[in-house]
């Protein structure tokens, strides 16, 4: 019998598989959909799933599959943008405060605490109500609202690493601070960071869906999973497929990325 060096993590495999399939569908949705996702047809209102319309049609006769494919793309773009904005700022703030400490840490972390005192979705709502609705504004608002949570995780990890002997050794060799921060320490906190980013991604997906559901995210006629759920609510009895398919898509996206994050931590966590 062949012995495996390291048992494969179930979460990693399952998460990668589900995320992979979702990624393919999302990329597909950017370039192709069976029908125009915005084309309405009065004769095709609320038709159940059939060979012509695999996921059925909505209250305006639009093809639900086409709207799910393009809507998942919008949701993904907003969530990914949120992670890029929140993650980049969070890493920089967390790294600087965790490594240098002192007044810089005190100052930035108090601002961070003030921001973190609001639930992040509420904070994003405040920003949206000032800047107005729209896909990219939601992305920016959620990105800013997510900075404190990332900054705190990264800061904690850097504070732990700063005292490690290999960092002291790098200082003695004369490695400049930026290189110690981002070349020596950052790879060591990657497992913790990645799993926190995947959790953040999921929260961003749900937050975007929630905001679109409230009508302040992606604006009609553009599709987004949250918007579709919100519109389907009225027709739940007559056309449950309008809610079920976007809902299942949303759940799979969040579940896949969540399991992948867990798997990454399982598989690459220790490192020593």
């Amino acid at each position: 019998m062949r012995k495996h060096k390291k048992p494969d993590s179930f979460y990693f495999t399952a998460g990668a598989a589900v995320t992979g399939v979702m990624a393919v569908l999302i990329v597909l949705g950017f370039f192709w959909a069976p029908y125009d996702p915005e084309a309405m047809a009065g004769t095709l209102k609320l038709q159940g799933p059939s060979f012509a319309h695999l996921f059925g049609t909505d209250q305006f006769g639009r093809d639900v599959l086409s709207r799910v494919l393009t809507g998942a793309g919008s949701t993904f773009v907003v969530a990914a943008g949120t992670i890029v904005i929140g993650g980049t700022a969070g890493i920089i703030i967390g790294a600087l405060t965790g490594y240098f400490g002192g007044w810089l840490d005190e100052g930035l972390m108090r601002i961070n605490d003030a921001l973190a005192a609001f639930p992040s979705v509420l904070l994003a709502l405040v920003i949206i109500s000032i800047s107005g609705p729209g896909k990219y504004k939601v992305m920016a608002a959620l990105g800013i609202a997510f900075i404190p949570s990332f900054a705190r995780v990264v800061r904690g990890e850097f504070m732990r690493c700063v005292k490690e002997d290999y960092v002291i050794s790098a200082k003695l060799i004369g490695v400049p601070a930026w290189r110690i921060l981002f070349v020596h320490i950052l790879p060591n906190i990657l497992p913790a960071l990645l799993s926190s980013l995947t959790i953040g991604f999921n929260n961003a997906v749900l937050a975007e869906a929630g905001m679109s559901y409230l009508g302040i995210g992606v604006q009609p006629p553009d599709a987004s999973l949250g918007r579709m759920l919100s519109e389907a609510q009225t027709y739940l009895a007559g056309g449950p497929w309008c809610a079920i398919f976007p809902g299942v898509f949303l759940v799979l996206l969040v579940l896949g990325v969540g399991m992948l994050g867990e798997g990454i931590l399982d598989r690459f966590g220790g490192g020593r």
């Binding site: 050794s169 060799i173 004369g174 060591n188």
Partner: protein, 218 residues
């Protein structure tokens, strides 16, 4: 006497406790010369590690003079399992001081590192290994190689043998001796173990009640 590599003149070291300053070392003066091994002994908590950190320039709360007559001294740590970056390969770790000098290309750096590996009696293949694949003694040799690659003539060794088993300790002592003779490396050797100190060192500094007393070889 030969060339000095480090000199401490009337050094006082303090720790801050809130707004109060607490003195931990008082009027420390001594020199280390090229190619000699100086022992540093004392009870735990007497300030041996603090003295090392201070001599390396890692502490800010001190007065007096600390003079280095060589490139910045390097340190070998007590715990070999924490002193090398776990995410980087040995080759990458050892090339770091050469990268900072910005005058070597990749192949030159690799050659220099492989030459250094053979000086500390490790095979060239270690270049592509991660620290987690090495034993404690092998890791300590990598730490020594890293210190030497910076071009320093002084190494501060903070109980470098205490985490190793006895046979590996003996090998390490041989290596330290060999480098002392061939490369004229000086060591400030911190240890609890007076047997090791008497075997290795020409002079011993004892730390007691914040002050240092110097003895010729025991």
């Amino acid at each position: 006497m030969e060339n000095k590599v480090m000199e401490l003149k009337h050094v006082n070291v303090y720790y801050r406790e809130g707004r109060k300053k607490k003195q931990v070392l008082e009027d420390i003066s001594f020199s280390v010369y090229e190619g000699e091994i100086v022992g540093l002994a004392g009870e735990s908590g007497s300030g041996k590690s603090t003295l090392c950190k201070c001599a390396l320039g890692l502490l800010k709360e001190y007065d007096g003079e600390i003079l280095h007559y060589t490139k910045r001294p390097q340190m070998i740590f007590q715990d070999p399992y924490k002193s090398l970056n776990p995410r980087k390969k040995v080759g990458w770790i050892l090339e770091e001081p050469l990268k900072l000098e910005r005058k070597y290309i990749k192949t030159q750096r690799r050659e220099a590192v492989e030459e250094m590996l053979s000086k500390v009696h490790l095979p060239e293949e270690f270049y592509d290994k991660y620290p987690r694949e090495l034993s404690g003694g092998q890791r300590q040799r990598i730490s020594i190689a890293l210190a030497l690659l910076t071009g320093t003539k002084l190494i501060l060794a903070d109980e470098p043998l205490s985490a190793l088993d006895v046979t590996v300790q003996a090998q390490m002592i041989r290596l330290l001796r060999e480098l002392q003779e061939k490369e004229r490396i000086a060591y400030l050797f911190v240890s609890h173990d007076l047997d090791v100190i008497s075997m290795l060192c020409s002079r011993v500094l004892f730390l007691k009640d914040r002050k240092v007393t110097e003895y010729e070889n025991l």
